[in-house]
Amino acid sequence: MEQFVFWCIAIFIVLSAFFAMIMKNIFHCALLLAAALFGVAGIFVYLGAEFLALVQVLIYVGAITILIIFGIMLTHKMMDSKIIVMNKQVVMSAVITGVLGTLIILTIYSTAHWILPALKNSESGYLTHSITTASVTKNKKVVTDVYTLGPALINPKKGFAFAFELVSILLLSVLIGATVIARKDQEG
């Protein structure tokens, strides 16, 4: 059952992502992208990261997709779907992508032989040899929610406090920068 639902979501994501990349009407593309990103949130739930799944929904679906749709609406006439969407290197890029995808899948397939036994060793699917540090016993049952993620982010000793602050500054500069760039009266 679990596996079945997972593969349903996976196929849903892959199909929406694929059609988001080839559809002519770019607005449809954006909607399909939203669907794909929502599906990715579902995958996050499968990975035991509900908090991140909600963050994914909130930021990717609720903000980034809206921004993209906004951009589409601002830069397109309504309903002009009769345009060429692919550039000249479409065949070349299809070939490259095909090779890349095959390579990735082959690599995963060929390395699966050392993943699978390890999975068999531990019932829960965790590697046995990694359960040595103290944090594991503490975090064993804990999924990634705010209670674990928060300290991990801003713990001054082991965490990412500096990166966190850096990201805050980045977001602030993005806020200002985007406003300045998109302002209309630049050219006077």
């Binding site: 449809h28 909607l31 908090f51 929904v57 909130l58 609720g62 903000a63 609406m73 309504m78």
Partner: protein
């Protein structure tokens, strides 16, 4: 997503009896259980929404010194039902040059996204459809989905009014989501949890409601959630005097009804969160503690009061202009909310023993 609580269990028990009665011995699959729960909550919410529509009409009638609906059923209570029947059976008009698939799914997205927020609302102690330990975030994340439905509707109708409405709605909802989240942050800082159940329980233990210490947060939240559900005075996406109907100009029949229903459900969700976070949820007011009424009763009473307040807003104020709306959101609400967070942080640091 931790376990099912009383309500689910209750339904489960009832279902088991039904199964036994029918002579089926197999245990009920979790999926069917979930479906039935969803159906029941949908029915309950729909009836509640119908009541709300009636209430809105009566409130507006009262404020405008009219009588309001009084023909269908006692006190016109069945008026909404009659309207619903009319809406579902009327001819479905669609613009010829619409974008077919998005036009079709837009009301569904808008409606479903709003409706999903109902799941985590704490009706009573331990009574939630599905309790999540990140309930507050869940509601905010899911309801932000609505804007996609609205934008899709605005785009696919192939109507300039709809498009402007969609634009306005997107700008408005994104802008007001920030003060909405920021106004909830102080409470989360004090209680140290994102679980709505636990936030209410904290208030029960502490003996006060957060509306007292967090009055600024409450007001900001109320304003922002009014804006989030596109209600007057923030109803610029569907400003009928400017954009005829905004994003739902081209919708009729059942599709329009879905937008309409979605708006009311988002009011319910907004006021439920306000009640749970700031007004003590199911806790009875201190002076009425002795009354032998279930907490659910208090919850509904409080929600209705908040909804009444939101309705009174609508029938009192003129509508803001779009740039004034943005100014209000960014230049007034967000700084106030951030200041509130800062003050709450200082308060926690100095006067309380940490979370």
């Amino acid at each position: 997503m931790s376990g099912s609580l009383k309500l689910l269990k209750l339904i489960n028990v009832i279902l088991e009896h039904v199964y036994k009665f029918l002579g089926l011995t197999n245990p009920i699959p979790e999926v069917i259980n979930a479906f039935i729960t969803a159906a029941i909550s949908f029915a309950v919410i729909s009836v509640f929404v119908m009541f709300l529509v009636w209430m809105e009409r009566k409130v507006s009638a009262h404020m405008q010194s009219r009588i309001g609906p009084n023909r269908v059923g006692p006190f016109g209570l069945l008026q909404t039902l009659a309207d619903a029947i009319k809406l579902t059976t009327k001819e479905n008009m669609e613009p010829q040059k619409r974008d077919k698939i998005p036009y079709f799914i837009a009301p569904i997205i808008a409606f479903v996204a709003t409706f999903m927020g109902v799941v985590v609302i704490p009706l009573d102690k331990g009574v939630t459809i599905q309790n999540l330990n990140i309930g507050v975030l869940y509601i905010i994340a899911i309801t932000s989905f609505t804007v996609i439905g609205i934008l899709t509707a605005g785009w696919s109708s192939n109507n300039k009014f709809s498009l402007i409405g969609g634009f306005r709605s997107a700008a408005q909802i994104i802008s007001y989501e920030i003060p909405l989240v920021l106004s909830l942050v102080p409470v989360i800082m004090i209680t140290g949890t994102l679980d709505l159940q636990k936030i209410v329980e904290y208030q029960a233990h502490a003996g006060y409601w957060f509306v007292g210490p967090q009055i600024i947060g409450f007001l900001v939240f109320l304003t922002a959630s009014t804006a989030e559900s596109n209600r007057a005075p923030f109803d610029i996406p569907e400003a009928e005097s400017e954009l005829t109907g905004g994003f739902h100009t081209e919708y009729s029949g059942i599709k329009f009804a879905m937008f309409f229903l979605g708006e009311y459900i988002s009011i319910i969700i907004g006021s439920s969160v306000a009640v749970s976070v700031f007004l003590g949820g199911w806790i009875a007011p201190a002076f009425m503690n002795f009354l032998p009424v279930p907490g659910f009763f208090w919850f509904v009473i409080k929600v209705l009061l908040v909804i009444y307040l939101i309705m009174a807003f609508r029938w009192t104020f003129p509508r803001l202009r779009v740039d004034q709306l943005m100014d209000f959101g960014w230049k007034i609400l967000i700084p106030i909310a951030i200041l509130n967070i800062f003050l709450t942080g200082l308060w926690i640091l100095w006067f309380s023993k940490g979370v």
